[in-house]
């Protein structure tokens, strides 16, 4: 059985889904189900004390999904560590998607602060899944400090641009000894399939599902694409050639 192994847990699904931007908790719950997701990301924010917003995540069945809190909003290592510890207190889960994004326009992760925070959190007993730019050297440095995965971006968060970092992703996948989860920017199921065919261990999708006209149907489409891409990768894709190679016999033509 081909299962995704992260830290001490095994998963059948290789599609992680984010819970942001859904029109309603019901649509989110149905989309997670259609995606077949087992790991879902969540954020940590201040309660709006002037206008109690209650628990929009009540629709998530926590016995069915592993909640993966992120540190979104953190601008440096210190803020990320603080958010991770609060998330652990809130969920009782020591898994964290480490995100340090000081730049509000492209939301690109800060490699120096991410590495610093990863080191602190690993020592503090966290299972750390760091969101990073597609940097093969940083990936190795994070592995060295003990992160459970690396999560390189395909293109900026929420941009739906697809695999803009392809060449670097290929190197990361080739060199990684921890699972590679391609995160951010996957806009279509074909992008996800492409990443899986390259040998990514999993992908994380949020915006492309949550903001589709029919999120539940799009979630189902991503599920098929991730499965197709994985099976293609395991099948050993045939080599690409510059020139044609006939599929039909080159003998026995009806001519003299």
């Amino acid at each position: 059985m081909d299962r995704l192994v992260i830290a001490d847990k095994e998963f059948d699904s290789r599609l992680l889904v984010g819970t942001g931007k859904f029109a309603s908790p019901q649509v989110m719950a149905e989309s997670l189900k259609a995606a077949g997701a087992e790991i879902v990301t969540v954020a940590l924010r201040r309660v709006d004390i002037e206008n109690e917003n209650d628990d929009t995540l009540a629709a998530i069945d926590r016995t069915r999904y592993l909640l993966l809190p992120n540190t979104s909003g953190a601008r440096d290592a210190e803020e990320a560590v603080r958010l991770a510890r609060l998330a652990r207190a809130a969920t009782g889960i020591n898994w964290v998607k480490l995100e340090v994004t000081p730049d509000p326009y492209y939301l690109l992760p800060d490699p120096v602060e991410t590495l610093k925070a990863a080191e602190i959190l690993v020592k503090d007993g966290f299972v750390v899944l760091p969101y990073i730019n597609a940097d093969p050297v940083l990936s190795k440095r994070l592995e060295d400090v003990g992160t459970a995965t690396v999560m390189p971006l395909a293109s900026p968060i929420g941009s739906n641009q697809g695999l803009r970092t392809r060449a670097a992703l290929e190197i990361i996948i080739e060199q990684a000894t921890v699972p590679v989860v391609v995160d951010a920017g996957l806009g279509l199921p074909s992008h996800a399939a492409d990443a899986m065919e390259m040998g990514a261990d999993a992908v994380l999708v949020n915006t492309a599902i949550a903001t589709a006209a029919d999120p539940v149907e799009m979630a189902a489409a991503f599920k098929l694409a991730v499965e197709a891409g994985r099976r293609a990768f395991l099948s050993g894709p045939a080599a690409a050639e510059r020139r044609a190679s006939a599929s039909s016999p080159l003998t026995g033509f009806l001519r003299d």
């Binding site: 819970t19 924010r45 609060l86 809130a90």
Partner: protein, 70 residues
């Protein structure tokens, strides 16, 4: 007059009206404690300890919860 800074907002309480415990503050704010985690002056307080965490004038309190995110 007692003051608590809650999620960046100053809350003022008259003589003897300061909520005694963190759980009392949540009731006062009408916040459902079941999904909240708190920080009092930078120290994390778990839900199970809300009822025995005494509040005092001048404290800074953060109330956070999980929300949708990617």
């Amino acid at each position: 007059m007692d003051v608590l800074k809650v999620n960046g907002v100053e809350k003022r309480f008259g003589e003897g009206e300061l909520p005694g415990m963190l759980s009392d503050l949540l009731d006062y704010l009408d916040v459902n404690a079941a999904t909240v985690v708190a920080e009092v002056d930078g120290q994390i307080v778990r839900r199970e300890d809300f009822g025995r965490t005494e509040l005092s004038d001048g404290q800074t309190i953060e109330l956070v919860r999980l929300m949708g995110g990617g």
